[in-house]
């Protein structure tokens, strides 16, 4: 068994647990959320379950960070962002504090629970707070890299982590400073899919079947290597931004703003979830993707039409 096999949350939080034991400045806080890897920490004085009270949770973490503690807060991404937005903006970000917010359940990973649990607008919401860096973890390899480096990431940071065995992209050497990585490279520079998070896998599968598509995993949304990204984008005739988040709630406006700022002339198309709260319930995330026409088959059709 490869050391990166298994559920991405286990990879991520087992590393966090090791760091927690090594560094007594680390505190782990949650809003009554449970992850398997951290169950054994619940009786530790540095593990704080604030209950279903996200505003207080974020305030406590801010207070700890003010005195050089290193809080890592985890919980459902939709509740850790929307429910306590002012606390994030004012108490963590305005003081530029070293607090890591780990949002579980991004996108439609809790597809049976409706729009309250869908993380399809949290990315851009957090992007609006200028001090926050955002990492969107697509696979076990990246989750391993980010979690091992968690105390080295400075300032307010929002990390989105999905669920399931995401052990693909195994050979990619992720560079956290660079903030993106080409995970599939086509010799033919016709089409580039820029994607993020779990649906990187969909784009990758399609690219492997076709000969003219490259795939770029965009995983860090603020301080990425702009020059390298521009150089990469300029190589392609057509760019598709493929996101599970809503068209205005995810990476599309982030990349659009970047392109405008840099005055790049690119041929771009988008594929993302609808800009509305989705009252659909399906046990299988793929079914929601199909209904919203953002699944792999939809992407394939979309590319064929180009």
């Amino acid at each position: 068994m490869n050391k990166l096999d298994g559920d991405v949350r286990d990879i991520f939080f087992n590393n966090i647990k090791k760091i927690f034991f090594k560094n007594n400045k680390n505190y782990i806080l949650t809003n009554d959320s449970d992850v398997f890897a951290l169950k054994s920490l619940r009786n530790n004085r540095r593990f704080i379950d604030a209950g279903v009270a996200e505003q207080n949770l974020i305030n406590i973490s801010a207070g700890l960070a003010k005195f050089n503690k290193l809080p890592i807060v985890y919980g459902f991404c939709s509740f850790l962002t929307f429910r306590c937005y002012e606390q994030l903006r004012f108490n963590i970000a305005s003081h530029n504090l070293n607090v890591k917010i780990v949002g579980i359940g991004p996108g439609f990973s809790f597809s049976y629970d409706g729009p309250t649990h869908h993380g399809t607008q949290d990315v851009y919401l957090m992007y609006l707070i200028p001090e926050f860096e955002i990492y969107n973890l697509s696979d076990n390899n990246l989750a391993n890299k980010v979690s091992k480096s968690i105390n080295k990431l400075k300032g307010p940071t929002y990390i989105r982590i999905d669920k399931g065995d995401l052990n693909y992209n195994k050979k990619i050497k992720y560079d956290l400073k660079k903030g993106f990585e080409l995970i599939f490279k086509s010799e033919n520079k016709k089409i580039l899919i820029i994607t993020t998070g779990i649906i990187c896998k969909n784009a990758l599968n399609i690219a492997e079947d076709c000969k003219n598509i490259s795939v770029l995993n965009f995983f860090k949304f603020r301080n990425f290597d702009e020059i390298k990204l521009i150089n990469e984008l300029k190589k392609y005739k057509k760019i598709i931004i493929y996101d599970e988040s809503s068209a205005n709630g995810g990476v599309i406006p982030i990349i659009n703003n970047f392109i405008l700022k840099k005055k790049l002339k690119l041929n771009i198309e988008y594929m993302a979830s609808l800009d509305k709260q989705i009252f659909l319930y399906a046990k299988d995330r793929d079914i929601l993707h199909q209904k919203l026409k953002i699944g792999p088959a939809d992407l394939k059709r979309f590319i064929k039409k180009l």
């Binding site: 505003q55 406590i60 207070g63 108490n91």
Partner: protein, 259 residues
């Protein structure tokens, strides 16, 4: 001590009025109501703002910052020259921030209901220190206040002292009735709860002493008068966040200079 506090609080009122006359826009009523509470806190033995390793403090009702600045000026922690320079550069205004007076201001303010939760973080990080905050009585309506109070009570966080400035006036209305403050609801939580006259320096000091000795976190409900000591502004909703005429301020300055 009582006599000294009386003199000092008059001097703080005088300094505050001079700042207002000098075109500093402060909330007159809410500043005056917590002035005596702050005077005892910083001129008693409770928090020495000059010390590095002092107890943390958050002025949750940050719009009362004019009094806090008056104390910094009176204690010569900041000179009026530096104060005016920072003001000229638009670095000081109507809310506190930590950026220019970092040694003396522990938290940015401007949004209500945050401080008690932040104090929990301070208290966990500093278990051997008492952590102080002053909150307004209107601010108690914020849900985050109750999230924090329940947490302190349930998790037995024992080193927070919360002073509620009970001046019975919000920005827009009278809040004479406040169920949670008036009907012993707070007594059912794990706090040491005390009610005092928030303008009686002896009571304030005695209450602070008890809070420091208490093995539980404390809630001090300080009954105060909005605009206390500022003539026409006393208990007058019009001057909750508006100033009085310059001529009236000048009269008050004369009064405090004479006394």
């Amino acid at each position: 001590m009582e006599k000294n506090f009386k003199i000092i609080s008059s001097e703080i009122r005088l300094q505050f009025l001079k700042l207002v006359l000098d075109k500093n826009k402060y909330h007159l009523g809410g500043s005056a109501s917590c002035l005596d509470l702050l005077t005892v806190l910083f001129f008693g033995k409770y928090i020495n703002l000059k010390k590095k390793n002092r107890s943390p403090f958050i002025l949750s009702k940050g719009h009362a910052l004019g009094v806090f600045y008056s104390i910094l000026l009176k204690q010569r922690i900041i000179s009026i020259k530096k104060f005016n320079l920072l003001k000229k550069k638009a670095l000081l205004g109507g809310q506190l921030d930590t950026f220019n007076l970092a040694k003396h201001v522990d938290w940015n303010t401007g949004s209500l209901g945050h401080s008690i939760g932040v104090c929990i973080g301070f208290a966990i990080a500093n278990p051997k220190k008492k952590v102080w905050t002053i909150v307004g009585d209107a601010e108690i309506d914020e849900g985050s206040v109750w999230e924090a109070l329940f947490f302190i009570s349930e998790k037995k966080i024992d080193n927070i002292i919360i002073i509620i400035d009970r001046n019975r006036l919000s920005a827009s209305s009278y809040i004479e009735k406040k169920e949670v403050l008036d009907n012993n609801i707070l007594n059912q939580l794990r706090f040491s709860v005390t009610k005092i006259n928030g303008h009686n320096h002896q009571s304030i000091a005695k209450c602070y002493d008890q809070a420091i000795k208490s093995k539980k976190s404390s809630i001090i409900i300080a009954n105060t008068i909005k605009g206390k000591g500022f003539g026409i502004a006393e208990n007058n909703i019009k001057y909750s966040h508006q100033s009085i005429k310059n001529s009236e301020i000048s009269e008050l300055i004369k009064y405090y200079e004479q006394t």
